[in-house]
Symmetry: D2
């Protein structure tokens, strides 16, 4: 398949696509971004790379990081992580407290904020130097030692933390946070502030498509574990729009309000897109459309 | 009316009443209380006093304080307090976040925790030394300069603050808290920790029954304002059991998880009860029953 | 007190009150009404009558009838009616199914539609000829043998019954309807279609203010029972605006989407108003305002 | 792959699996079934058949039929069906009215009851003889002219219809049912009453795995359309347990309270299981476990 030609076609078609979305305004530091950026990078399981546009410019990965923290927690703790967080779609917005109240503090899945905060708490408990160790993990799986937190973004998230602080304290009131809430949130804000470009993200998610092994062969998770996380990404990776993404794109993936999306076709490829304008559900408008075009043109969806 | 005889009858009847309730376990410091305490004190508008049982032993007034903070905020700010908190019954438990999420951070009424935290925020904004000034107000209306916070109870509430911290941060995320969340909660935990006995409580609430004037004639609120706060106590004063209390007792009132209840018959009397065992809705089991007996025996309900 | 002068003042003040409400459009037959009608009638416990405006023109009493069906059911069945319907404010709109789902088919109170349908089911079970017998009861308490159903309104409600049919079937699925759903709804639509004017309504509700006895001395309920129903009207009589009505007016009452409101001051008076324009919560806009003016001017609220 | 051997292994392992589930009691006629039945049948895309146990005994397909009605509606109406029903997981139980109330009568997806009733309404509108035509469609795709409704099951569902009648009327109140509610429910109860065995079900669902073409080559839907329905089965096919099924089994599928489950691996195989004992979420306990064993043993999940 001539992926480069397809990526070029997609980029061309997107130029005539009228966007209505907005750059996130929930975190002041992120609101400064140039809204017209667009990049896409695809890495095949054989190791071929195809990129176009702003695919080498870094951006804030935000919730895309949730797939990586859950992978790290899963590698440490195995199936027992599901005692504290579920694997079901939430049916409500990503930062809702309602489901949490009805379900006694067990978040529906690790990709809504509440679930990610519980996963962060697990990592704070089992990592010696949580932030440093997680950064080392990201550098390892992406094969890039330069990846780092953006401290001003982390600080900006802290300054506007109230909704997440509500979630953290609410979880703590149900006994589902072990550590100090502020310490857990500090870790969470740092994980979200990590900056990567599309190439680095495609590399970092390579092991999800490659039966648990990174591009340079390091084993992160078992085949079975990776299948399971891919399954959760499929049903829960796009907040309240997971069904729509599954319907239109048909690949497991994870999005972030920085405008990034990573999706993957097991045993075939990983693809990362970046475009900061978000639709009403908080997912990158052009990114979702680009991936829909990709699976339509290649006829490569898992369904 | 021979109130003393009626209070004696009530006390006698309560002895054969089988309780199933429990002392609160939400605040460790309060869990230590002797569950068998019972006191009741009634003060008529003419200034006659009738008390029995443990009516002169102090206890933690807890949410009973919410009626006093809203009165103080009302005296400072007038009707505009209702822009930030409603006057409708909540239909859900006292510390629910659900209604708050659907209603964009405007608590249903000032007697659920979220509403009381917003009122606390108002007082933190308009009092120079919030804790000291509020204490002075309590001493003024009750005519007793010895009333004080119980600092170990306040600390105990702080140590188990997570649900309230979730509420405070959630309100802040909707822009309905002006001050620092921790500072507001500190005030809130102190107001709840105030210790009073039944006599003192009946005195403190005297102005609600006396067209806004304290027992010694100081004017706190206008007649119209007091009627309005009595109305809110009637519909919202007993959490999710306000309708039941209105149905059975038929007087405006306010309860607290320390086991205290104050109720009043405008232009007639104020009555305070104390018994630490709470029913499932968080209201004093014997206190509710005592007041039901009182209005049945005296045929003095507002309906 | 010169009630006539006060009613005249109120009527005058209402002329300069800018209404924003709308006549109900939920039932086509009711949408035809002249929106500018306004009438008010007050009957004192001593038997003096004061009326003004369109107080002698009949209108559809709609949900005002719910206070009368619950009174009749209470007279037959006593306290056991509360096993199938609660006495708590609902916290959600009058026709909501949500609370019903969480609370397993027990409506919060007899004044939301679900609760009134359960009460209707009780009457269908205990009356020999339900519709005729209920009409006879209305004629008895109002002292007027000409009061009747409006059959075209009843038919119009049947034609647009889907929300109520949903409620009826939902209640039946929880086992809280004994009879055929369609038969119960037929009774319910007829009870709502009854037409009365303000004078007749004030007469019909006289027993609520008169310790259970009608204007001509017939005993309908005991003093204690009437107090209890007044209490429920206070906390639940105005749907999701009951707190607001209690706050502003301070009297127990019941409204209907036909634009009628009845309120009463126990042992003092009954007052009925009619104005078809409804506010967003479904209560008569001018009627609520007229009653607020009444209790402000007379200083006669129960609080 | 030696599928027969694998099915034998699975059957053997299931014998030592302790079930805790119950046969459905929601429909009296279905409660009569022998709870110990178990059958499984797998058909490969190449046309090889492997069956074991009670795989040739018919049972009530119930909600499995929802995948077939949506396929038929999709073939008639195309993408516009999604204006009246969504493609998102529901996050609440299969027959919940709550989400429907918040989302103004648009069911979350076609596999919850509300969504299936809307799809049934579409078919009642576009089929000349709805029940007969739908039966003809089932016979066509399964290649079996003997498949039929079980009229006593359909009648049993009608007799206990109240929850579904609530849903139908509720949808109608939002304008999302075009036809008479009873007529739509009659169709719906008949579609659910269809009886098939595992072999027939595997044949009927063959086109979902075969790019839209039945086993004997008839084109039902386009490749793209089939992918999209598979996607919805993946995210929504198992009610409130869809995430769990995706996590453990990793194949799109659809279950029914008759104990049947169909799952499929696009371009590879279709598998149908039957065991009447249901877990708490309403899915066949042994069926779910059998399919988990199948994808574990074959390592054939789409992830």
């Amino acid at each position: 398949m001539n992926y480069l030609k397809i990526l070029e076609e997609i980029t061309l078609e997107l130029k005539s696509y009228t966007t209505v979305g907005q750059v996130t305004n929930t975190i002041p530091e992120l609101a400064k971004i140039n809204p017209d950026k667009f990049g896409i990078h695809l890495t095949t399981i054989e190791g071929d790379d195809f990129g176009i546009g702003d695919s080498q410019e870094r951006f804030s990965i935000q919730s895309v990081s949730k797939a990586l923290t859950v992978a790290l927690a899963f590698s440490f703790l195995g199936e027992k992580i599901w005692k504290r967080v579920g694997v079901e779609p939430s049916g409500t917005a990503f930062n809702s407290l309602i489901q949490l109240e009805y379900e006694k503090g067990i978040p529906r899945n690790p990709f809504i904020n509440a679930g990610a905060i519980v996963i962060a708490d697990m990592l704070v408990s089992c990592l010696e130097n949580p932030k440093e160790d997680f950064l080392r993990f990201i550098r390892l799986i992406s094969g890039n030692p330069n990846i780092d937190f953006n401290l001003s973004v982390a600080q900006s998230e802290k300054d506007t933390r109230f909704r997440n602080a509500a979630l953290g304290n609410f979880l703590k009131s149900f006994g589902n946070i072990e550590n100090d809430v502020d310490e857990v949130l500090d870790f969470y804000f740092h994980q979200c502030s990590i900056e990567m470009n599309c190439v680095e993200l495609a590399n970092a998610f390579f092991f999800f498509a490659n039966e648990g092994k990174t591009r340079d062969g390091k084993s992160i998770l078992t085949t079975s574990q990776v299948k399971r996380l891919n399954a959760i990404m499929q049903t829960c990776g796009f907040y309240d729009e997971s069904g729509e993404f599954t319907y239109k794109v048909g690949l497991p993936g994870k999005s972030g309000i920085g405008g990034g999306i990573v999706a993957l076709y097991p045993k075939n490829f990983v693809v990362a897109t970046w475009s900061p304008k978000l639709n009403k559900k908080g997912n990158s408008e052009l990114g979702m459309h680009a991936l829909e075009l990709l699976t339509t043109k290649t006829e490569m969806s898992i369904f």
